[in-house]
Symmetry: D2
Subunit: 365 residues, 4 copies
């Protein structure tokens, strides 16, 4: 069964509510980083704004941001902290054309899939949900995206603690299933610790044996990379030949590592400022068509906030942007659950097992 | 790398402490189901008792039970509730020969494996532990046990909610990797619901779609099986041809289903009395050499309590009894952690993924 | 602010759909413990059945059971396993009068409380929910129920591991806030271990110090109670003067302890057969107006299944039956979430803290 | 029972191993932010270094950092990223004087408290641990610290979601139980949202009702504070009179808010750069004698890494630095468990309940 991208159903702008709607209002930002009163704030969904009688889509959207009307008439979605004094900020907080704003929640919803029976036992997704079809669909999706899309992976450090998971991820990268990778300083650190010492926090990633003085390992790796001045130079100088970071460097897969207050080090490439880090992350997400978040609450929520449920392709086609969240803890995955059902898939499992199943499902292991 | 059973190192009974130890004392049980004061209670480990100057092993042991000296001189490990008035119950609560009792904690411990470095980061096992080697060892172990051992599976109902997991388990059963199976009424109920309706609690186990009035499905299956009078008759009458219970019935794999206060139904085969249920479970466990508990706190702890860390084979050889606990929740697996390290392996993951990885690792999927 | 029982709004039987509905059908149970095809199965809600043109409420309901039409015209809700051959079992699986059955979902719903805004962040209840008002309402409710209702407590064994929690519960019992108590063998065992040894599993319940050979403590208590023949005799003989079980015995609060396959012992009062246990539990629940389940998945779900969201008082008044579930784990509390919003309150916290806050809120500590 | 600070037992430097130990070696940092090979890295414990035949304590320590020998002979503990080229960095990775380094693990350990019995059931701390004595000791400790110490609170945003918890924390601040407070942008944001709108993420923090368009609330507060230019100006201009942040501002309790990639806003006071944030946090921690971390994995681990288990007071006295971690999730608290037992206390509960119990225990509510 080959994968087929769901068709986007544009709003029917000939309906009364669209025709009768007023033009949307705007007001200038009163100072840098501050929106005017009654600013409109974006959602995950496609949002249309009536400007000079025409409904215009804000194309590169994200959640909780302002919409700026640019000189050339196109709309830009900008985090409030990035507003400049004088930016024309769209106003309005209604969603059904009342103020010239329309949020298109059902652009990809298949009518057939709606559930009729109201007396349902299991609504949320938990460790007890059946994920068999989700896996099968993901295999298809990844094969499709490898050719036609852009897959961004987001992951926590624990991912590198397991020999199989680390190898599976490297194989996915080497076989064209990764177009971008995001994580924190610890991901880079422990992956390179594994590459250099074969340990994670001093424990062998295969045999689980603890090396003597192994708690020095990640600090030593950090120190060596900092001395080298960059991750690629460390990889070159120390002849690193395996792992996730190595895979990215070797295959020109762009990565964004952002810092946090938990960090040792950090690695030279890590972006220490959280808001510059957000900007760099969003730049990766802007190109993505599938985003897969693995075992990191911090990076998953950060990514989820900046990932809309749609992508406007270069040819103008609108398609879903698929977001997956995989975590061992229901609490984490449920934090991102309130999104359009077609666009977000949450799975409760150990990400080590998840990634080896994915690599096997794609015939890589 | 072929699997090798660790050698058992018998205690060196020529050591002073064994030679100088007194004979163990006993006293008659004062009434049915009641032990005498200062009774000895068993552990998971091999325990030796000095009787008439000879050290005798209690062969079929379990935790928290009394040891009875039988007429023929052999020792039986009996739950206190099953004591009969007049049974000769062993007394003593020391473990190093002081009262003629020796608990042999290190029978299988490999000296090489002991960890030297005390400054260790990660001691427990969590979602962040590397399980790569555990999987590889399990594949080897299961291949060995298929030929030479006895594998008992213990599982919670959620196991049947996933299409892949259910199929993987059926394949394991059909290919000789199951010599016994234990669970509750819900396991049997939802597995047969899946076989008959393709749903679990009314939700399709592959597509996740909710059937109209699907909350009747498990009740209807229960009602039909009860009308048939037995699970095998239901399988026959309704031409069931898939699933875990079907696999057991079709391959003569004995199962024990025990009841709980959560049950609907129950199925005719379910043992309603908890203590008769324990007895039936222990009879399966007595033959087992590997026990794998999946996603059920109740049955896992019940099984763990009655599973020693060793098995005396028919030829007198003593070998480890391997116990695995797999659950999505650290809290559950850690409840069983305090056992001999060689004998208990805990893994934190979704059991659906676990079982498909096992089936794939054995070449069955 | 004094507590006020919400008024029950009876269905308006003069509406067309009630007037035009057919009488409900029934069929005899074909054999003991088996319902006829197309039997109706109950929910948590008040359910009305049209019999000889009159709508009759099934008064003492519970979930997942059959409805029997008795000789005298009243309706009894009976678990399928308790059906007798020839019982007149109501048929039909629609809920809006189509087959003479009406499920009254909104009997207690306050129109004012309905939420208008659909764009809501936090829908479920988690560790991040505000429970301040829930506590305040619970204090009021308990004060009301002490005089006018019937409070049943359901609890797991961990409850007895903490000095403060155990004392708080004893105070609630001694001050009239408990009309029934349910739990497992372990609750009774560890509470009496705490009373006799001041330990839980050998660990001091206040200082956390581990007693030497403390793992014998609960076994010794079990053995002593079994020798005594009953819990009250043990309390008397060993001069027990504190704890939860002591509080019940001393204040004539009925308790039901049901067995499970995890049990040691068991205590003489424990009901070993799960289905007899269910019957005994339901008999306590039949009188209850508030049920509070604390830190036990097994007993909470069992209780939840047999607890409707309403109670018909002796004077014919219909009032809500309040069900609380308190557990440290979202997974557990969410299992019971799909109930009428007025009737079920879930709180995510450590039950030790919960109960001391309740005792303090009622002025008992 | 009044609280008594445990006495510190200095190492006995007259022992052979100290007398025979060589002087510790050092080497200059080869470049800014890079340590020399074989650098020594610190632990939580007091560490002594033999310099010119004298054993010198590194007074203000933290984990995973280098030790610099300063011109004046005193030792400074410096994160590697803060090293300057030419800093004299101590070398050596042994702990028992072999290289002139001694790690004093048992400075505060009471011999009486050591546990004798090895066969212990419950070793870790979980929702099933008895916390009664921990609470009582904490009440005493806080009363002591109010007069003689320095209490720093670290907290996640969920803390502000509950009316009672927020009030309890405000009372603790107003009554002298807080000498510093640390958290993220979200803590400040949602606390001020609660102060201004009485909501958290749009949901009333007492009634749990969702305000229409309530998802704008936190964004509006952020926007207003950013327009005001600082939190104190916002509090002044909008007449804020309640909450945690208000309490700090009004009582001159210093706070450190550090940014993360999840942030909206941020608030003007938030430190966006993670490593500058760490430095600011450590400056608060340097003065602390008790640190209490509540419901935040990120900030808890960050704080834990920079908090040693001892504090050298101005008069030279060495006392324990008490660290508490409170979280609903065992996984989080166990991440910090591997510390000296006297110094770290972990509690598994909902922090809302924790803080109201603390405020009540101190007589504030």
């Amino acid at each position: 069964m080959a994968f087929e991208i769901p068709k986007y159903r544009h709003p029917d702008f000939m309906q009364e509510k669209f025709l009768n709607a007023p033009n949307v209002l705007w007001e200038e930002a009163p100072m840098d980083g501050v929106a005017p009163e009654h600013y409109h704030s974006t959602s995950m969904y496609p949002e249309y704004f009536k400007i000079n009688g025409k409904w215009v889509l804000a194309e590169e959207s994200r959640m909780d941001s302002s919409v700026i009307l640019c000189e050339d008439g196109h709309l830009e979605v900008v985090e409030n902290r990035n507003l400049k004094k004088g930016d024309k900020v769209i106003l309005g907080r209604s969603e059904h054309c009342e103020e010239g704003i329309y949020i298109h929640v059902n652009g990809f919803v298949d009518e057939k899939m709606k559930i009729k029976d109201q007396f349902v036992f299991r609504q949320g997704r938990s460790r007890e949900t059946s994920y068999a079809r989700d896996y099968d669909k993901l295999f298809e999706l990844l094969r499709y995206e490898k050719e036609h899309g852009n897959i961004v992976w987001v992951m926590g450090p624990a991912f590198t603690f397991d020999y199989d998971a680390r190898r599976a991820m490297q194989l996915l990268i080497e076989n064209g299933y990764a177009h971008g990778l995001m994580g924190g300083n610890a991901l880079a650190t422990h992956d390179l610790e594994a590459a250099y010492f074969n340990t994670a926090l001093g424990q062998d990633i295969y045999t689980q044996e603890c090396m003597e003085n192994g708690h020095y390992n990640h600090l030593d790796v950090l120190n060596k990379v900092r001395r080298c001045g960059s991750i690629p130079k460390f990889i070159d100088e120390y002849k690193i030949d395996n792992g996730i970071v190595y895979g990215c460097v070797n295959n020109n897969v762009p990565f964004v590592f952002t810092g946090s207050i938990r960090d040792d080090g950090p690695m030279p490439e890590v972006i220490g400022n959280a808001y510059e880090g957000q900007d760099a992350m969003r730049n990766l997400v802007r190109k993505s068509t599938t985003v897969i978040c693995l075992a990191t609450m911090l990076h998953t929520i950060a990514t989820g906030n900046m990932t809309p449920c749609f992508r406007v392709m270069e040819d103008g086609e609108i398609r879903p942007l698929y977001l997956y969240t995989v975590d061992a803890d229901e609490f984490v995955v449920n934090k991102l659950l309130d999104r359009g059902s077609l666009a977000a898939t949450t799975m409760v499992t150990n990400v080590q097992d998840f990634i080896t199943i994915v690599a096997k499902g794609l015939g890589l292991m």
